[in-house]
């Protein structure tokens, strides 16, 4: 299990290598990477500040990872989340799941992202040319999370 809250960037290849090294039982690797995007036509997003709760954030990701390893037939997983000031096109988060078969890896990766979005103590603030504002929590993320509780 690889959990990290860090300021520096990450490389998908290296995380995959770390997880799969020395194993021959992996048939499927699913990765999710979340990036800072600027969807506005004016390209007015200057930066994104990622705040977190040191101590609690790491614990919350670890307990999320443990729940995924119990719930899905996956062999291992990684969750890397950046904090601090990020800019458009930069990586924010990465989740990797490895398993024998693809379905479990896909489901576990989606599950991890859904819970991370609604449970882990991170907060985004957008710095635009017109000022700063905190990103509001999305109803769609809460809905996405609740579907795993059936």
């Amino acid at each position: 299990m690889l959990i990290s809250v860090q300021q520096q960037d990450f490389e998908v290849n290296k995380i995959i290598d770390q997880l799969t090294q020395g194993r021959s039982d992996i048939g499927a690797i699913v990765t999710f990477t979340g990036l800072v995007r600027d969807l506005s036509k004016e390209k007015d997003l200057v930066a994104m500040d990622l705040e977190h709760y040191p101590g609690m954030t790491e614990k919350s990701l670890k307990s999320l990872a443990e729940s995924a390893l119990k719930k899905w037939q996956i062999k291992d997983l990684a969750i890397i989340h950046r904090v601090g000031r990020l800019h458009p096109t930069e990586n924010i988060v990465m989740v990797v799941t490895i398993s024998a078969h693809r379905k479990q890896a896909f489901d576990a990766c989606e599950y991890l992202m859904d819970y991370l979005k609604t449970q882990a103590p991170f907060w985004k603030k957008e710095i635009t040319r017109d000022g700063e504002h905190w990103v509001a929590a999305k109803q769609s993320d809460l809905k996405a999370t609740s579907r795993w509780e059936k």
């Binding site: 709760y53 609690m56 992202m113 103590p121 907060w123 985004k124 905190w134």
Partner: protein
Amino acid sequence: MKINLLYFASLKETLNCDQEILELDKDIDTIQDLKTFLVQRGGVWKSSFLANNALLASVNHQMANEQTSIHDQDEVAFFPPVTGG
């Protein structure tokens, strides 16, 4: 009892406070009691802790609810809904 109280994100900015050590009376047992205590400070404290139902709380790094009890030396935190990922 003494607790370490933390505030994050928009709440931290509204209150203009990120952390305080609080000496609490014995009759403050739960998160709900603590909120009521903070409301009594008035101003932004009143509006933040009275009106904001979406506000989340944690006790010693575990998500908490209104009924979660608070003990001496606990680390308690209040923050808005999370928006990571």
